[in-house]
Assembly symmetry: C2
Homo-oligomer: 129 residues x 2
């Protein structure tokens, strides 16, 4: 029985490590990139959808993006200043973030976005405890 | 050996479940609450620190807050619209978010924040894939 127990031990340890790395990765050592958009009144639902899809495809094109999520505002507070979309990206270094900013696929996305963008707010921050 | 293997199996399954729940929790089924502040020029570093510490203590006081992180802007893009602080909270339901908004400790925080707040932007979103 002891030999079996020890053979499983490294696996358990590895899995525990995965959980711990994931927790610390999400909470402490990440550079967040928060992007808020307000689209122009003249932009159609189809235009907005096109921009959403293009943004969503960036993580496949730019390896520096370590995680990506997005959604549309549903705050009841009325403090969104007209901004309706949030895209929330994570990098693991400022070099990675900077490489993203000048990446050809990001530039291409910016050109597509431009005609539809009414307002934008961008804040980046290192996660603090 | 077989009996030992089976006795460990539920534990492995449980740990795999933890990893999976955590992943889906962070990526798909969470209501994010993004809060951006610009402080008044008249507010001292001490005032700003006081607000930061008060916000940081809210998760201990309000159980509906499922995760919390924050940081200060370091984006080189110059699109932060003067906003310098991001607080990023997660709820697991709109009821939880709404309970937070009217919670006495949140209201108390708001009263302390008020005199120092120049600009605020708040966007909430359900995480989409």
């Amino acid at each position: 029985m002891n030999s079996i127990k020890w053979s499983v031990f490294p696996l358990l340890l590895m899995m525990a490590g995965m959980v711990s790395a994931q927790e610390s990765g999400m909470e402490k050592t990440k550079l967040r990139h928060v992007v808020l958009f307000k689209f122009k009144d003249s932009s159609s639902d189809k235009d907005v959808k096109m921009v959403e899809e293009a943004f969503k495809s960036l993580p496949e094109q730019i390896s520096e993006i370590k995680s990506f999520e997005w959604g549309t505002n549903n705050s009841p507070e009325g403090l969104n200043q007209g901004l309706t979309h949030c895209f929330f990206l994570t990098f693991d270094s400022e070099d990675g973030r900077d490489a993203y900013l000048i990446h050809p696929d990001h530039k291409k996305f910016g050109k597509m976005l431009g005609p539809h963008l009414d307002k934008v707010t961008v804040v980046d921050y290192w996660v603090k405890e």
